[in-house]
Symmetry: C2
Subunit: 345 residues, 2 copies
């Protein structure tokens, strides 16, 4: 079995470990969000961590009713003109904690006396040391280049911060059912995926989502791209309609990530639009009517609340990425020229 496959299947255990060990810490860290001088949350991240950051953008935005937005690292590094960070709570997300640009944003915030939080799998890393508070991801060692369990646990850490902020035991109870839901979803999707062979071979594809699963689309596209070198890309359903849909030609694969919730109608519109252009549809959803429109339906098991749906919706995508890479004979543990830790300034 490849390391990637091992790590992918360790996700329920890794998530359970995070929830068990870090619940109290998340409550402590959650208090930083309620500081009277916090008007917005600024996140620095790269790669898979940026996709997790998009989840934070929706979830923490809804929890605290403040904008959760992305930093522009090159202003801190290349341009050496860091902004004033009055009003900001700054979060750095990096599994390795090594990327200098992510660290630079957190260091600058610390220097300015702003509250800082690191979400990292390596609390002793430069990022972990730079931040005032650290929420360890508890994913265990991850050796495959493509992030799986560190990604899922980044989402888990964000969900813990959300649950802590609501002060509501209901949210925690929902979150604690997720390791079991992840296990069940991995098993179910592995069965559904047997039909993937009929979709391959392909040259690339477009992944579409919106709202709380916006980052899920990016993570699935990145995973397919990293593992197989296929040209996958991601769009929000809204951005896709502002021009980029022009490149969706007859036969082009589109993966729609559409769990039930406020974004469903917008997603149904995007699915109609790409279907009208002759796209070949894979649909990750729990809604029977949407699944019926897919050449490859990948059902989500019922019972997961919308706010937690990104923790399961990414799983069929990870399996698609793994299987496409295997079908192309790629080395999934060390895909084409990538390294586990990328040091960008």
């Amino acid at each position: 079995m490849s390391r990637l496959q091992t790590e992918l299947s360790e996700q329920p255990v890794a998530l359970a470990r995070l929830l068990e060990r870090q619940r109290e810490r998340a409550v402590e860290i959650g208090a930083l969000f309620r500081r009277a001088d916090v008007d917005y949350v600024l996140i620095a991240s790269r790669g898979s961590s940026s996709n997790a950051a998009r989840y934070a953008q929706y979830l923490l935005g809804r929890a605290h009713r403040v904008p959760v937005v992305f930093a522009t690292p090159s202003l801190y590094t290349l341009y050496e003109q860091p902004p004033r960070l009055s009003g900001a709570l700054v979060i750095g997300i990096s599994q390795s904690g090594e990327s200098p640009d992510v660290g630079a944003v957190v260091e600058e915030a610390r220097r300015q006396g702003r509250p800082t939080i690191a979400l990292t799998n390596e609390p002793a890393s430069p990022l972990g040391r730079a931040a005032e508070a650290v929420l360890p991801l508890e994913a265990g060692e991850e050796r495959a280049v493509a992030a799986t369990k560190t990604y899922l646990n980044s989402l888990g850490a964000i969900a813990l911060l959300f649950a802590a902020s609501t002060g509501d035991d209901g949210a925690h109870a929902e979150l604690e059912r997720m390791p079991e839901a992840v296990t069940a979803q991995l098993e179910r999707s592995a069965v559904d995926l047997a039909r993937l062979e009929t979709l391959a071979p392909i040259e690339g594809g477009t992944v579409v989502a919106r709202g709380v699963n916006y980052g899920t689309a990016y993570e699935i596209a990145l995973k397919v791209r990293e593992l197989s070198g296929l040209l996958f890309e991601a769009y929000s359903a809204a951005d896709l309609m502002h021009g980029p849909v022009a490149a969706v030609a007859p036969g082009w694969p589109v993966i729609a990530v559409a769990p039930s919730g406020p974004a469903l109608e917008s997603m149904a519109g995007a699915i109609r639009a790409v279907a009208a252009r002759g796209a070949r549809l894979t649909v990750i959803a729990d809604d029977a009517a949407l699944l019926d429109q897919a050449e490859l339906p990948l059902p989500l098991l019922p019972g997961v609340p919308e706010w937690l749906s990104p923790l399961v919706a990414v799983l069929p995508g990870q399996l698609v990425a793994l299987r496409l890479a295997e079908l192309r004979g790629a080395d999934v543990d060390s895909p084409g020229g990538l390294s586990k830790v990328t040091l960008t300034r």
Copy 2:
């Protein structure tokens, strides 16, 4: 001549008109940025306007030393959970001023008593009416679906706001030389582009930039994609290295946008990385050493300061987009199934 070609060649005149008519207004609006209660700038936009917004992110970030960040419109519309906007100055950018999601963010900010600015070509539009202050783009009527002169004038409006903020006549003098620089660049690139036929036919490509030209990469990719339906995508040089470079296979076209400035070294690294993977390189740059590495060098004329380079660096990209579409026999005024105004919630 197509409408698109006409509008593309009207850009110097449209830019000159904006600079002449709106300089005073930009100074008035610029004062909003200096309000003591403004800790950050929040921008709502879609499509080409989002690419202009990335220019604002760097330029206004450097001018005012505050984070300039992007709103998450679906929290205002689909989720109906708009955040508290204390500390925010809110800018909506939309050439038509019609997109409901962009309008929703500005309306909410106005309701909360925050300062709001609209950059729009239609001051009487819903967005124009919603904002406290309007900076008209003065691009004249734009009828081709793909934005050219409204995009350039969105950059021009942002540059005007930057120049106003510096209170420095030097910046204004540099900006006022840009209509002439745009004319010269369009002429020069039209000549260089004769060699494009040797690059076509292609299936798609990746556009890479960083720093102040990050949005230029997105705009060039969007323009090619809209006009020809080719699968073009954009990445920052840093994000590309965190995984997505895996899909850059031998022979894959890469357009690097690399004017001299603080981002040049990072771009040179990305160019080395994609060249090592066998990419076919188009380089938009003024640096002779970088241009020498390109199969299709598209030189930028000297004398444009880095902060204004996005106003000229996009031009060879627009011409590439137009020419690729012509070579594919596409209708450049009404490309495949797109409409001029897209109404997303």
